[in-house]
Symmetry: C2
Subunit: 403 residues, 2 copies
């Protein structure tokens, strides 16, 4: 099978699966939702055709193993769930590339097996908790997660049972003992590779992240009768802080910071804002740098507030350390891709972040045209997919060659 | 009757009327709502006791005339409607002070009559159009206003009929020919008098106002995967603009500018804001200064947007010129108050703004403790009310003395 045929098929399969949705006319497929049954049926059939032994574990991960049961095992995985109104490639592409790599191994005999996993949950939409699928596989899914409740009052445990699975068998979802490596293909979901004119990038680390909720408390008052010097305008303080956040992030290499949510009250055009609640999302690959920078921004907010008689509070919603991927695995992936391949950090979380503390892991990014993701316009270039498939095959064969 | 007794009674009447509400436990009384009937009954009785001829005109204004029909006439007026969950004094205090002034004229014979009006509508809550009461009185209430529809689908015209009034008799609501002056007492609803340590202020003008809706259009994107230099963050542009608005307003004497409403989309903590819609409310007593300043701010927004690849649009929602009050009437009121009384502009709109183009008008502000208004905590100081009542009596008697 030629390269072109392989990448065309990978893309066609992603598009085919994108039609399996909870909402007609778009792609929305959350954890163990109805359309996931048909996804399992089709992807399972493709796996079986590629001579893989297919199963569904207790958390709903679709798993296909190519090669003998007792052999050491390399895992290639990504996720099959989507955000609401998603594109066709986030997650799904990684699973389809895993299968395509196995298809390319047809007739080959290796000293290890390859397991392709389509995780049931990565996006955290249905239960507001991401990574349920990969957590089950590394054994970190706890009772607490099984008790999470969705918008309809259904627990994770109940959702699993309704799908016809047995949450009591969660232990069997764990990776086999002989797993020696993990590879994840994923679209970049950002503009970096495109801006460099490159198809592929090797991920060396997934950034750490702090999420804060900042609260600015001033005094709501009449917009016409309150002179500027007697105001305690919460939005003015928040705006000064936001300008500082942007400038501070631009001044710190590799750091990104975002104020994405702003709630202003009372929120009328003719009333001075008495209260503003704003989110701050900060990411950097070095935890120390991220934490210091966040501290600086909190002090900046307090300063902006103080000048205006506006009180400032900050609350940590998430504090997640950076995860470095395995040096040797990443070096192998770099070698399989080409010596001048960009080595980059991932600003987004991925299943590799959950797996990496347990299994030597590597991750390959594919260029995202326009940097667009989590949107129906999400795309990949066929040539990039062909290159990624070729890299995957070389990466797998590299272990056989004993490199 | 001593001064103290007069002011105590004025305050007690305001508090009594505050209990007449559409919503139990708070003060909410919109245009011709049910509790307005009882307000008319009680206030009408107080007017009658003060020897006033009481009537309700076609727009629901309560009117009491003291003195013979054929005499020239001085009007003292304010409004009887309230905002939702209001205080006891906004509007109502002006009507109660008008009646108290007349009570103080007991036994006096003047060469003119005094008409006290309690306007039925000033706040613009029910039909989202303020000043219906005073517009009817000066003859500027049009058919268009009668066709306005409230949240329940009821027109102004229908509301009038339901209240038992005849909209066909709107012409009779107009002021009598002999009206030579208009006085309005009102709480300041701002902190200026309190910050000066003064009880009363004479209003020389009501500021003009521009309301804009600003739209910042960037590109929503992933907060983790989009480097700072590749972002088109609508909120960052808006924040820079807001900081400029605040600094620009502080730099322009007498101008106030407020960004009170901010809508950010998509509005998730981990998504770069693609679009921000923000309100801008600008007020100044000189129209030219206000208009130039607004132009500067729009250019500032465009500049902040351009630096980030964010498009900026602005839409004028309201453009209302400043209204100067009558120089002679204001001078009389200043004389009645005391030569060192603060002369100030009103940053809020009041019925005097509607009446002033038609009748020589003056306006007296009473200190608002804490600058608080449109809130149950809205208050007045009894000594301030006593002083205002005294000023009102001197103001009225001044015309008789031929000053």
């Amino acid at each position: 099978m030629g390269l072109e045929v392989g990448s065309e098929r990978v893309i066609a399969r992603c598009r085919e699966l994108a039609a399996l949705s909870e909402v007609a006319g778009e792609t929305t497929r959350t954890f163990l939702s109805e359309p996931m049954r048909e996804v399992h049926a089709r992807v399972g059939a493709w796996m079986a055709t590629a001579e893989m032994r297919v199963s569904i574990d207790a958390v709903g991960n679709l798993r296909g193993v190519w090669g003998d049961e007792g052999l050491p095992r390399l895992v290639i995985a990504s996720h099959l769930d989507t955000v609401p109104n998603a594109g066709a490639f986030d997650g799904v592409l990684g699973v389809m590339l895993g299968i395509a790599v196995v298809e390319r191994l047809e007739g080959v005999r290796l000293g290890f097996a390859v397991e392709v996993i389509g995780f049931s949950e990565e996006e955290g939409i249905r239960f507001r908790r991401p990574f349920l699928g990969s957590m089950a596989v590394v054994g970190t899914l706890e009772e607490a997660e099984l008790g999470l409740v969705d918008a309809g009052g259904v627990t994770v445990e109940r959702a699993i049972r309704r799908f016809g699975l047995d949450p009591g068998r969660m232990g069997e979802a764990r990776l086999a003992r002989g797993v020696f490596g993990y590879l994840e293909f994923h679209i970049e979901q950002g503009p970096v590779l495109e801006s460099m004119g490159r198809a592929l990038g090797v991920v060396s680390a997934l950034v750490g992240q702090t999420r804060l909720e900042m609260t600015f408390t001033g005094q709501a008052n009449h917009a016409g009768t309150t002179p500027m010097e007697l105001r305690r305008d919460a939005m003015a303080a928040a705006a000064e802080w936001m300008v500082g956040v942007e400038a501070g992030a631009r001044g710190c290499a590799g750091l990104v910071a975002t104020v994405g949510r702003v709630e202003i009250s009372p929120g009328a055009g003719n009333v001075i804002p008495g209260r503003v609640v704003a989110s701050l999302d900060v990411r950097h690959e070095v935890d120390e740098i991220r934490r210091e920078w966040v501290g600086e921004m909190v002090r900046g907010a307090e300063h902006a507030g103080k000048r205006r008689g506006v009180g400032v509070g900050s609350r940590v919603l998430l504090e997640q350390g950076a995860v470095a991927l395995d040096r040797e695995m990443t070096e192998r992936l770099r070698a399989a891709t080409g010596p001048d391949v960009p080595v980059m950090t991932s600003g987004a979380g991925h299943d590799a972040m959950i797996v990496a503390p347990h299994v030597a892991s590597a991750m390959l990014f594919l260029r995202s045209p326009g940097g667009i993701s989590h949107h129906p316009d999400e795309a990949v270039l066929e040539g990039d997919v062909a290159e990624a498939l070729e890299v995957g095959v070389r990466f797998v064969m590299g272990f056989e060659a004993g490199e």
